[in-house]
Subunit: 111 residues, 2 copies
DNA sequence: TTTATTAATCGTATATTTACGATGAACTAT
DNA sequence: ATAGTTCATCGTAAATATACGATTAATAAA
């Protein structure tokens, strides 16, 4: 049977979760975020020294993280310092926490 | 200055986080997971009735979720029941929880 | 002014993702 | 056997992501 196939509309929450998930869906971006959080402070393009990837590629990944809102950059010529965007980070924390909240998970009889 | 550009090696954790994040990086997969968790029980291809997308597309997304380990399918001919994979779900919960853990976030002086 | 440093952006090649319709496999019911 | 149901898989087109080197912009240092 034929069905509608209109364009699917997503809620703001769904879009938001998905876009943050997409931001951390690449291992190098996870590594960058871990570096930014573990260094307990901001960080700059020393990332380029640490991670064996072309500078342009890293810059591209940083842009992806910026766009997601998970990090912020502070221009400090000729360098740029990146750090976690604390507010959005906390937001992500509670979003993912709520999403994966154990209590909600599958009370089914499958096995 | 020229740098190495060897292939970047990622840790198991980094790969794992990234692949789960990739699984939930599409809004329709988030919706599917929310349906599976909220229905407080398993679910079948009624998804096809609820979500205005081609059956083949939904099947494709279900495969992506299966591959991520977040859901499991139980063949129940001619139907298939899907539900959350509880163990992996809890694992994801703690992984993301640990990753976004507020205490770790950015003690920097940026602003 | 010239040179060096840092990092974004451009151009581009390749790989992956996403969507669809069509087909096929497995099983039920007639 | 035949027909119907459910769902995965195939083939495919279009969009997006990923990586690179080259270039450019902004600034500091000489």
């Amino acid at each position: 049977m034929k069905r509608t196939l209109s364009v699917v509309e997503y809620s703001g929450d769904e879009e938001c979760m998905a876009s943050i998930a997409k931001a951390i869906s690449h291992p190098v971006r996870i590594r960058i975020l871990k570096l930014l959080t573990s260094q307990q402070c901001c960080f700059t393009g020393e990332l380029t020294e640490i991670i064996p990837m072309a500078q342009s590629t890293i810059s591209q990944h940083l842009k992806a993280l910026l766009d997601s809102g998970l990090i912020q950059g502070e221009i400090n010529p000729p360098k740029v310092r990146y750090c976690i965007h604390r507010e959005n980070w906390l937001k992500a924390y509670s979003m993912f926490g709520g999403f994966f909240n154990a209590d909600l998970a599958c009370r089914c009889d499958c096995r």
